[in-house]
């Protein structure tokens, strides 16, 4: 589940002190000590998953729903003008720690955070190629893993011997009366 070498797992496990703002059975939300803006938070699954593709679907849904709660809380409690939800998946995407996390970044007008891009010019042909490739492999999207209940109900086959008449203690109990 957790990896000893992973700094995030150590934070989750409490070995490294952190500023937790939320915790439940699946995830924690902590404040970034070196945040882009005060209030910059991470939502982290407790289990060790390096990238989003390894996180079970239901957990992805839950993590983003917690990120949404954190984002709303930031909106309501801090004097800010917007929030970003940001995920970096893979080193080329700027991921620095091998433990999946969602950044919730409070935004102020003219802060130094830059999540903008200069649009790349693609030809119609290139766009169509990309479209077809994606369309083709997105066909099987639709089935999502659900959380398995922790305790699967055990199937125990009960064989009850029904004893007829006076011998059945269940029937006897029914007939038991004071003074009998």
């Amino acid at each position: 589940m957790s990896q000893e070498s992973c700094i995030i797992c150590q934070i989750v496990g409490g070995k490294i002190p952190s500023k937790k703002i939320y915790e439940d059975e699946d995830c924690v939300a902590i404040l970034d000590v070196n945040g882009a803006n005060p209030g910059h938070s991470f939502v982290i699954p407790k289990e060790h998953h390096p990238i989003m593709e390894r996180v079970p679907d239901f957990l992805v849904g839950k993590l983003f729903s917690v990120a949404n709660k954190v984002s709303s809380a930031i909106f309501e409690s801090l004097a800010i003008h917007g929030t970003n939800i940001f995920v970096a998946n893979g080193i080329s995407a700027g991921q620095k720690v091998a433990h999946f996390m969602i950044h919730v970044i409070p935004r102020i007008e003219k802060d130094r955070v830059n999540l903008q891009w200069t649009p790349k010019q693609l030809s119609e042909e290139e766009m169509s190629t990309v479209e077809l490739k994606l369309k083709d492999s997105s066909k099987d999207i639709g089935y999502f893993e659900k959380k398995e209940p922790k305790k699967a109900p055990q199937k125990t086959v009960q064989t009850e011997e029904v004893v007829e008449g006076e011998e059945n203690y269940l029937l006897k109990q029914l007939h038991r009366r004071p003074g009998y």
């Binding site: 309501e76 893979g90 990309v130």
Partner: protein, 271 residues
Amino acid sequence: MPEEGMDQEDVAALQEKIKNMSPEELKEFQKKQCIFCHIVSGRVQAKKVFEDDKVMAILDINPANPGHILLLPKEHYSIMPQLPEDVLTHIFMVAKSLSNTALRALEATGTNIIVANGAAAGQKAQHFMVHIIPRKENDNLSFDIPQQKISDKELDIIREKLSKNIEAKAPEKKREEIPPVLKRLHEEHEKKIVDGEFKEIQPAPAMKHIQLGHDNAQKPLTGKAPEAFKKPLPPKKVSSDNKKKPKNKELPKKQSDSANLDDIARILGAK
């Protein structure tokens, strides 16, 4: 949403129009103005890469990288906090799958997932969306999230504010906790009322005193009302036999009160 080529007057007129709208009208108006709602309904063409009953994924026409996907809910929402829980979780589960798709189909080595809430965060369209941007090494794209040292004090203040606010958003526990307290308070309150021992008269005076307050012409009555209101209180605190007597004395007073109140009712009826 002022369009290009509009006069300043038109913009002003539009702003005035928006101001006077009800929330429902405003939402309908936003829908009509929203290019992404038009894409969802099929009136504007786009390169769809995925669609189901709740969401649609299209290619960004101004992509950060080839394969830049915009994932939208079909319903119009401006920002993330407006999304219902089920749509929110669904949309991000699809986002994960699409990210996976992009990694496989486009041989990307990573993906960025970005949501912008508010203009300060870089939101440009009035329709909530999730950006899924495939990444490759040296793709000339850099998202800069600078770091700054935040003091421990400030962090603690923020932590306190945020954790309280998030807790308040998860009312499951509180729903169970609060009502019993309220119930007990309510029961105690009701007991106190019963202690007053004016079962027949009590509900009526409470109502009629209010009516009295409105009618200044009935001065003798307004004078009596506070007395009757105050006297039943002391017996509650000390429940000795002596205290029962004043209660009995009060009863006739109440009756006279109610008689006068009848008069007022009649006068009010006459008016």
